[in-house]
């Protein structure tokens, strides 16, 4: 089908730390105050202006899997700060803070769940955890999730929200690209389907490895998909990115994804995909 030009991407970044006021959230796009409960019912889309709010891993999982079906399989691992990294603040402190504010051990949550009755192994990134960056722990969780999918012969679903590699773990973070690709090779050999959902943002090292190698790749409407960010591009090359650059529909037009799905339809879309894949892997 020809691409509908009027179907413009919309997206807005909002305040990430919402723990402070549990009852309502302010839309960063139109300024509207929205009750959290109301927002949740509306797939975290601003009821006034349609802007998408960031989702935590927990909220994303709740929005995708059947109620009560989720089982957390996240490995009980934390980064050991292998480089004893410190910039203006020690990495160890940043980790502690991120753990405290998110309740997570790192940027990836792994679990088992059902989508309209169909089993999946999920790995969901949480952008609040140091920008959804992939360090050793995230790489480990992703590889583990794929190994579980192979073992249980259940499709693997990866929901991406990442700015790239975890700088504070240096080359060890870079190597997580290799780790996740290696695990993905085993998944592919086993014939287990791998579905990626790219959201805002899906860039950097995660995109230049596991996230680009899915069997079926969906972009959530509003997603940002690429390797280098527009600022780096402009600074390094002087090129001015065109309007809509790296957004979901742009990615679709350039053959990078199989489809663009509005957030409120994502769950049904995945159910539709899992239904057609029923019986895969075979045997």
């Amino acid at each position: 089908m020809p691409i509908r030009r009027d179907d413009r991407d919309r997206y807005v970044e909002v305040e990430l730390r919402r723990g402070e006021e549990p009852l309502w959230l302010r839309c960063g796009s139109c300024g509207e105050l929205v009750f959290r409960r109301k927002l949740q019912e509306n797939s975290y889309i601003c009821p006034r202006c349609g802007a998408y709010f960031f989702l935590t891993a927990e909220e994303r999982i709740a929005a995708l899997v059947d109620e009560g079906s989720f089982e957390d399989l996240t490995l009980p691992l934390e980064s050991d700060d292998p480089l004893s990294f410190s910039d203006r603040k020690p990495y160890a402190d940043r980790l502690k803070e991120a753990r405290g504010s998110t309740g997570l051990s790192d940027a990836v949550v792994v679990g088992r769940g059902r989508i309209e009755g169909r089993k999946v192994i999920l790995a969901v990134m949480d952008f609040r955890f140091i920008g959804g960056s992939m360090g050793i722990v995230a790489g480990e969780q992703l590889a583990f999730a794929m190994e579980r999918a192979v073992e249980e012969r259940v499709p693997f679903l990866f929901v991406v929200a990442s700015g790239g590699a975890r700088v504070q773990e240096g080359v060890l973070s870079l190597l997580q690209m290799a780790k996740t690709v290696a695990a993905r090779e085993r998944l592919a050999e086993a014939g287990v389907p791998y579905i990626a959902v790219l959201t805002y943002p899906s860039t950097g090292g995660v995109m230049a490895s596991l996230a680009s190698l899915a069997d079926v790749t969906l972009a959530e409407q509003g997603a940002l998909i690429g390797f280098a960010g527009p600022r780096v591009i402009q600074q390094t090359t002087g090129e001015k990115p065109p309007p809509g650059f790296q957004r979901a529909r742009y990615a679709l037009e350039h053959g990078l994804v199989d489809g663009v799905v509005p957030r409120e339809g994502l769950r049904q879309e995945l159910a539709r995909l899992l239904r057609v894949l029923e019986g895969v892997p075979s045997g």
Binding site: P76, D87, V167, G170, E185, T203, S212, P241, G255
Partner: protein, 318 residues
């Protein structure tokens, strides 16, 4: 500590004196020998205390042996293969057949070019999707012809451009990583100069990863890290230190298997000697790898990358 500028000044002086000897026939042998000795001593002193930032600058030194010039010194009979077969040929990522220690191999390398024009065409060694697609093509060809693969890495990173994004630079890098991991033939990567993030690891997931003494391998440039984490462009030297981008640090971390020593003062002081050490090391590693059964070699490679950095995790507290 001996200052780099002092060393440079002394090098220049010695060169001038030599020209004098040649042109005017003045006999300055004794004086020159003394000066050379002094220079070596200064270099030794400077070298012992090299900071990671010093290494970053050595890795970027314009005279550093790299690209086609180095490949031709390391291998014989280089036969270039070009094109991604889809519309492009990237001069910043090159490759082809060659002979190394009596056997045919496939080589891939970043190239920055010598002439101004060539340097422009090579975008400082930042490769395009077509470069990485050519690389993946040549990796598959290596496997088909049972040729060991040798890669030489020297790039600040993949090219960050609009068209590169449109043609899926991320996917092209991912494809290289997946292809290189899947090969049946032995693979050795040598980090020559800058090993910059995704653009480097695309060619670096080898059975053996070797690194020149003053090369760097990093997830982000020190300048980039300084800007993002320190919010201060002048913090690059600190960032270099923090990022553990040097060969000795990466050897300690188990990321690289061998540090290849450079001539005193850096590889640029003696490109030919550097090439010969690289060559000897490659031949040794290839022989070791060739001696392993294919399945064993592939298993070891898989384990290496599947477990990369796993020591850097710990059980969750509580």
């Amino acid at each position: 500590m001996a200052d780099e500028n002092v060393i440079q000044a002394l090098e220049d002086k010695i060169a001038e004196l030599r020209r004098l000897v040649e042109r005017d026939g003045v006999d300055l042998r004794e004086e020159l020998a003394l000066l050379e000795q002094r220079l070596q001593a200064l270099r030794r002193e400077h070298y012992r205390g090299l900071s990671d930032w010093d290494r970053v600058r050595l890795a970027r030194h314009p005279g550093r042996p790299r690209g086609l010039e180095l490949v031709i010194r390391v291998c014989e009979d280089f036969y270039e293969l070009r094109g991604d077969r889809m519309g492009g040929d990237d001069p910043a990522l090159r490759g082809g057949l060659a002979r190394l220690g009596e056997r045919p191999v496939m080589v891939l390398f970043h190239h920055r070019g010598s002439s101004k024009e060539e340097q422009r065409a090579c975008r400082a060694g930042m490769a395009l999707p077509s470069g990485y697609r050519k690389a993946a093509r040549l990796m598959r060809l290596a496997d088909r012809l049972r040729l060991p693969l040798v890669t030489f890495i020297d790039t600040p990173g993949a090219y960050p451009g609009v068209e590169a994004e449109e043609r899926n630079i991320a996917g092209a890098i991912a494809e290289c990583i997946a292809t290189m991991l899947s090969l049946s033939v032995p693979t050795v990567a040598v980090i020559l100069g800058e090993g910059g993030s995704g653009g480097a690891i695309a060619l670096a997931v080898a059975d053996r990863v070797l690194m020149l003494e003053n090369a760097t391998y990093t997830v982000i440039s020190p300048e980039g890290a300084a800007a993002i984490l320190w919010k201060d462009a002048t913090a690059a030297p600190q960032a270099a230190q923090a990022l553990a981008l040097s060969a000795p640090r990466l050897l300690e971390l188990g990321v690289v298997d061998e540090v290849i020593p450079e001539p005193l003062g850096g590889a640029h002081v003696d490109p030919e000697a550097t090439a010969q050490v690289v060559r000897a090391s490659l031949i040794k590693h290839l022989a070791e790898l060739q001696a392993l059964p294919v399945d064993r070699r592939r298993h070891l490679r898989y384990s290496r990358y599947r477990n990369a950095g796993s020591r850097g995790t710990k059980a969750k507290a509580g």
